[in-house]
């Protein structure tokens, strides 16, 4: 299954260090810029279409406003002591060597301007504290390097003061938007969502047709009419899933997995055409208002359909917004069933179903795979799952081990809260940034190559639409095939046996099945 010749050697060899620090190369990524947004899309989001004449004034005022409205932004701009603990933590720095991709240097692009206009030291002694005027060159530099940050928060875990570059990067993008400098990828997608309900621009009819096709596929495979309901009023569960689950590989296989789990659990569920998107790109551009508006669609859909519960599909940033922000942005959800978490993650649902012995599982169905798991950054560092701390790490592994016989973790410093971003998160999953995406994936790919070398791992699973798309694009650059990235619920789908399903070796098993322990 893997193009890389990994299992031919006699003994494991050292593949490379995922944490290897490159030599500093100033300006290495200065020319890598994502496309600017069309004026129309900026306006759709409530921003000026093009660069304002008085942009400098507006940008400075915006920085002041954000410092008043957001404690994180204000405190983080003040408290950095330049200790350097974060400098080797960003996957984009490790992959590119461009010093402005070191978290502290990235923050300083904005901090230097904040100091100049808002602090005593910067106003009177700019040379002493590295403060600088806001010029057009600085604005361009912001656009370049704040679109080379995937807002993955790995640096925040490393910082002794918890300074979160994601907060600075979101604020910077909001300042850019407020003066009419938007990014095409994010703004176009948010505009599309506001019109059609999803990032893809799929209308309800097309969505209906897609789901019907998938139902046919499922029935062909299992002989059982497993449904993928759309806009069913009175269903118990509203599934909010990334629109990539409707068309992309391996995302679709994950969607089929949710359908099988829901079917096996015997719950009624539905997708909404109005809120047919889990991802909330409002977060990427740091716009509270846009994020709220996108989130609000979920509330409206849940009310309109009269559901009792909301379950999120596999989508990393969506889950951060879902878990950490949804209650704030679109709550209170007092009209839903309070006996379940609001919202719930499909992983929590499946893990519970496994615990309760509801799912019949044949682990041998996944024996062709030797699996590892990629903790998606926003799930790992921006949210949680389950009742126990660290559930966002443990539940996906528990589910994987319940449906696969072969599972190994990657190196400890590259997983769980120290996981590396896939290289495509935070609004960077666009072809115009492919160079950055390939380089940014290097630390993760090196850790994967090592576990492939040591344990013969062939495939990696993830629970984020962006990770899946990113890896299927960049894995071929690192010696893997594009289908070496799988959805966790794809593996669940493979292993689950539905009642009445034709199955020659019907050795349904549950919790008794001992899973292969990671080393």
């Amino acid at each position: 299954m893997v193009a890389l010749d990994i299992n031919t050697g006699k003994s494991p060899k050292f593949v490379g260090d995922p944490h290897a620090v490159p030599k500093i190369e100033c300006g290495a990524m200065a020319d890598v810029k994502s496309f600017a947004a069309h004026p129309e899309h900026n306006e759709d989001l409530g921003f000026p279409g093009e660069l304002l004449d008085n942009w400098q004034e507006v940008a400075i005022a915006k920085i002041g406003e954000l410092a008043k409205k957001n404690r994180a932004f204000q405190v983080y701009l003040d408290t950095c002591v330049k200790c350097g603990a974060c400098t080797d933590k960003c996957h984009y720095f490790l992959g590119t060597g461009d010093p402005k991709n070191m978290p502290v240097a990235r923050q300083d692009l904005l901090r230097s301007v904040y100091r100049r206009y808002f602090t005593f030291a910067g106003k009177y002694f700019p040379w002493l504290v590295g403060a600088r005027d806001l010029t057009k060159e600085v604005l361009d530099e912001w656009y370049t390097y704040y679109h080379q940050c995937s807002q993955c928060r790995r640096c925040s875990v490393a910082c002794p003061y918890g300074i979160d570059t994601a907060e600075i990067s979101m604020a910077a993008r909001e300042v850019l938007d407020s003066v009419g400098v938007g990014q095409k990828y994010c703004n176009e997608i948010i505009a599309k969502l506001k019109k059609t309900g999803n990032n893809l621009g799929l209308n309800p009819k097309a969505l209906q047709a897609t789901l019907e096709d998938l139902e046919e596929d499922l029935e062909d495979e299992t002989g059982i009419p497993v449904k993928l309901p759309l806009d069913v009023k009175g269903a118990d569960i509203l599934l909010i899933t990334p629109s990539a689950d409707f068309f992309a590989e391996p995302h679709i296989d994950g969607l089929l997995g949710y359908a099988k789990v829901f079917h096996a659990a015997g719950v009624s569920w539905t997708i909404s055409s109005y809120a047919s998107e889990a991802a909330n790109f409002g977060m990427f551009i740091g716009s509270y208002e846009n994020m709220r508006e996108v989130s609000w669609r979920i509330r409206q859909a849940a009310k309109d359909l009269g559901v009792k519960r909301i379950v999120f599909g596999e989508c990393g940033h969506a889950w951060r917004v879902g878990y950490s922000f949804l209650n704030t942005l679109a709550g209170p959800f007092d009209f839903l069933d309070q006996n379940y978490p609001i919202p719930q993650h499909i992983m929590e649902f499946t893990a519970d179903a496994i615990d309760e012995g509801i799912l019949k599982i044949d682990k041998s169905k996944n024996d062709e795979y030797v699996m590892t798991y990629h903790d998606s950054c926003n799930v790992a560092r921006g949210s949680a799952m389950g009742r126990e701390e660290g559930g966002q790490f443990d539940l996906p592994r528990k589910v994987l081990k319940a449906v696969c016989n072969n599972y190994y973790d990657m190196e400890q410093d590259t997983i769980r809260e120290k996981t590396f971003c896939c290289g495509g998160g935070g609004g960077l999953l666009t072809d115009d940034l492919m160079d950055l995406r390939i380089k940014g994936a290097k630390p993760r790919m090196t850790a994967l190559q090592q576990v492939s070398e040591d344990h013969g791992v062939t495939h990696m699973a993830a629970i984020c639409a962006i990770c899946k798309t990113q890896f299927s694009k960049v894995m071929p650059k690192y010696g893997y095939q594009m289908d070496s990235i799988l959805s966790v619920h794809q593996l669940v789908a493979n292993a689950v046996i539905l009642d009445g399903e034709d199955n020659e070796d019907d050795t349904a098993s549950d919790a008794d099945n001992t899973s292969m322990e990671e080393k």
């Binding site: 200790c83 603990a85 208002e289 709220r292 704030t328 949680a384």
Partner: protein, 276 residues
């Protein structure tokens, strides 16, 4: 002024022969003014900044992993951060070693210095005295390591501004002059103590005119003055970082701030939205 101290020293501004503005008196008065101003700037400046941090709302729940689910858990997390520098330990051992030597060396040294401000000296300050000596070396070693790293390590050199070096040099100056007075050029420590206890009682006595002492206390005053307008604010700032201080319970408790509540309401049902 406590008894026993007054008897030993003359105040240039009180008693006997009236006000005599000799060179020594000018120095004593200058340093008195400096310390009063520095203390006011430190307290007011830090207080104002902390007030601003506290007043600024955190609109969203952004705790960063590993995030505790309870308030108690957050208290333990912060205690570990403050006492052990936990995150720094996990992310960079060298910076942790130097940073820890410096900060905790400085803490013990500061505790040792309490003897110059208390009469009689508190019992536990007496106990700290011998450790304070070693702590001084630890502090210098830590500062030296941090400065060396800043100069030698390419990545840290890249992110450093002049103020980052000067801050370390200032601290090294403070620790260094302190050590010099201990081991090389003794100053009249009894008179120093009388001077500072005098200041605490709003009386200006005579400060010993040893240059090393004057550099030492002058640097301390400078540090106090720049504290609120510099990166030294990391000390109180640590307690206002939402990524570390927030409880991870967004699903259970609705987190809301005032400005967000005042945003224009969005339509509740889909039909309205479509028409609007």
């Amino acid at each position: 002024m406590p008894a026993g101290v007054e008897a030993d020293f003359r105040s240039p501004f009180s008693g006997g022969g009236g006000l005599v503005l000799g060179r020594k008196n000018v120095i004593s008065a200058f340093y008195a003014g400096l310390f009063y101003i520095a203390s006011i700037l430190l307290v007011v400046g830090v207080g104002y900044k902390v007030f601003r941090y506290a007043r600024t709302p955190a609109p969203l729940k952004i705790p960063v992993s590993p995030a505790p689910r309870t308030r108690t858990g957050v208290v333990f997390r912060m205690v570990r951060e403050v006492v052990l520098f936990e995150s720094l330990f996990k992310s960079n051992k060298w910076i942790w070693v130097f940073g820890y030597l410096f900060h905790f060396g400085m803490l013990v040294v500061l505790l040792r210095h309490l003897r110059y401000f208390t009469q009689p000296v508190w019992w536990w300050v007496e106990i700290v005295q011998p450790f304070g000596i070693y702590a001084g070396f630890a502090m210098l070693a830590g500062l030296g390591g941090l400065l060396l790293r800043r100069i030698v390590q390419e990545r840290i050199r890249y992110i450093s501004s002049p103020s980052d070096y000067l801050m370390l040099i200032l601290l090294i100056g403070i620790a260094g002059t302190g050590m010099l007075m201990k081991y090389v050029e003794h100053t009249d420590i009894v008179q120093v103590k009388a001077y500072f206890i005098g200041l605490l009682n709003f009386q200006i006595l005579e400060i010993p005119s040893s240059p090393i002492l004057l550099i030492h206390v002058g640097s301390v005053a400078l540090l106090m003055i720049i504290f609120p307008v510099s990166k030294l604010m990391h000390a109180p700032g640590l307690f206002f970082a939402p990524s570390r201080t927030q409880v991870d319970n967004a699903r259970e408790f609705r987190h809301e701030v005032k400005w967000a509540r005042n945003l224009p309401p969005l339509p509740e049902d889909i039909e309205q939205k479509k028409e609007g």
